[in-house]
Symmetry: C2
Subunit: 357 residues, 2 copies
């Protein structure tokens, strides 16, 4: 059973397109991304190649899974809204991937996260200085890749990328500040997730259209689609972070609970009130003081997950994913585009909510 | 006696203009820079204000000296090359200052430097995460400040800023890698200083002209001026880092020697050959192994400085500053600009080489 049942009526038909769309985005964007990374001076090119999973710690070629590639798929698809070829969106896809990976490099260091995609993080392997430096280089490269096109459209795309970048940074600032707080409200959590995930998916969903010469309304509307899709994406991520199948996600069981993450299900459960909510609050407050937290058993995390579910946090988050998914797809109604392109945006939105990893 | 005698014939006349030009740059750029920083979400606005010296660690207003403000002075002056008002260069001045300060925040953390401008560095006061995050925010803001102008000129300025930013990052990568090496060649040192200091001064010296609609030759030539001025600036900095008057520089005596910095005088002395050079190499190799280095006496550092001077490192660096200063001013010959503006570029170049701090 999918974590969140697809909300779009056409899901049965369109969901089948998603893997092909993801593959197309990957195929178009990857060589350009690799060429951009090749521009970096040593040792930054090597550190970046390790981060992307293209080589291992010894510098031997590796076959990183490259992630889900939702952003490149959206970027090249959005070019087609304007009647342009998907290739027109490629520099935008690459710029967005560079900004995303800049944020991963820096966030992993700031958060002290030692693992990403089943591998040691860059700061762990190459040291904090390289994580900072290569993150900076990817960020600069993102603007270079767009602005070297030298067109008015590229300048507009870069302008929108600054907005997304600043939101990303704001979201990380909120994430850091929330860590030190006992209680975080549902609205605060959604705002943070909108900044960390929504803003860049908004940019990905519109950047190809902007490069294809879309008018402001079209670009803004595609951003709205992407923003809400980002919130749906993150809600599903938060569900998988607790109840995901380790074999599919590649993460530990109860992963987010082990990290004491104040994710949406937790925050919603705490805000719900009632006996399970109060008991959960009591337990999490004690956990925060516990020096033995790292050694908690499977059963202890399972008990916390059960309380979150009893308090309604799981169902609320699944419902939120459906709401955001619906809002995303509805946003597309006000923009003129070929039916095929609209169906494909829907297919990608469906993929985001039914995925298991 | 100035560290390096001014090379420009007109120095006697024009040098008097430099303080007024620096003051004008500061007056025009500062309010816009402050308004840009005000856009940052808390606590990043506060951390940035601390970094710029506008508030102290307790958040009380402070009167930071704001640095020499050579870059803003160059940026607004460069606008006048095109016949535009100096104000036209202001967004460029602000963007360059933001990129410069982004690099200071990150470099201080990477290098573990605990002091800057007589104050604890941001990572020391607010922690590494805030230094990374606020650096990132300043970097994003730099592109935002330019691209929100929405003009073709601003897009071209932003494109040139990506080049400068990438050089800056390359220079820091070189600086880090040189630290782990016993020997660094003079050419390598100059390349690193060109990346770290030259590229951003090149951008500062041309950005106002680009915003004023300068053609490519004019912009490139102003970049050449700025690049060589940056190398002159850095050569003087390297002299002051060893022989500067602590009362003027605000740094410790023999500051760069205490930090084992492979600056230009050291590298040139080691490359010179001869008895003093060999003795210096011998001593520095021993210093690198010494566990007691932190407790070395004034006399021990003075002896090293004397050897650098005997081997010719001091004179070579002063000569290099003069050469770069001359190359910078000569570059201006191929560009048409009002005599007053040309004199003022010369005045700022003279200031850079005669300054004592």
């Amino acid at each position: 059973m999918p974590t969140v049942p697809p909300a779009s009526k056409a899901a049965g038909r369109t969901a089948a397109d998603a893997p092909a769309l993801l593959e197309r985005g990957r195929t178009l964007a990857m060589p350009v991304l690799r060429a951009a990374i090749d521009r970096l001076a040593p040792p930054m090119d090597t550190v970046a190649a390790y981060h992307f999973g293209w080589i291992d710690t010894e510098g031997r070629p590796a076959d990183g899974d490259g992630g889900k590639a939702v952003r490149p798929a959206l970027a090249v698809l959005s070019a087609e809204v304007t009647g342009a070829a998907p290739e027109v969106g490629v520099p935008g896809a690459v710029a967005v991937e560079l900004v995303h990976n800049f944020s991963l490099l820096h966030d992993d260091l700031m958060d002290g996260d030692e693992q990403r995609r089943h591998r040691d993080t860059v700061w762990k392997v190459h040291g904090p200085a390289q994580a900072i430096l290569v993150g900076d280089a990817l960020f600069a490269l993102a603007y270079e890749v767009l602005l070297e096109l030298g067109t008015a459209e590229a300048a507009r795309a870069a302008r929108r990328l600054t907005t997304a970048s600043r939101s990303l940074i704001d979201g990380q600032a909120q994430d850091i500040s929330y860590e030190h707080r006992e209680r975080v409200g549902v609205e605060e959590c959604l705002e943070m997730e909108g900044n960390k995930t929504g803003a860049l998916l908004a940019c990905a969903s519109s950047v190809g259209a902007v490069l294809g010469g879309a008018d402001r309304h079209t670009a803004d509307t595609l951003e709205t689609y992407g923003y809400h899709l980002g919130l749906a994406f993150q809600a599903v991520d938060d569900l998988l972070g607790i109840w995901g199948d380790p074999a599919a996600t590649g993460k530990q069981t109860w992963s987010d609970l082990r990290q004491r993450k104040k994710s949406l299900p937790v925050v919603a459960a705490l805000a719900a009130g009632g006996p399970a909510s109060e008991q959960l609050a009591h337990i999490l407050a004690a956990d925060a003081e516990s020096s033995d937290f790292a050694n908690f058993s499977e059963e202890e995390f399972a008990a916390r997950a059960a309380l979150i579910e009893q308090a309604g946090g799981r169902e609320w988050t699944a419902e939120e994913a459906r709401r955001q998914h619906t809002t995303a797809i509805e946003a597309l109604d006000t923009v003129d585009m070929p039916d095929r392109v609209r169906d494909q945006f829907t297919a990608l939105a469906d993929f985001v909510v039914v995925r298991k990893r």
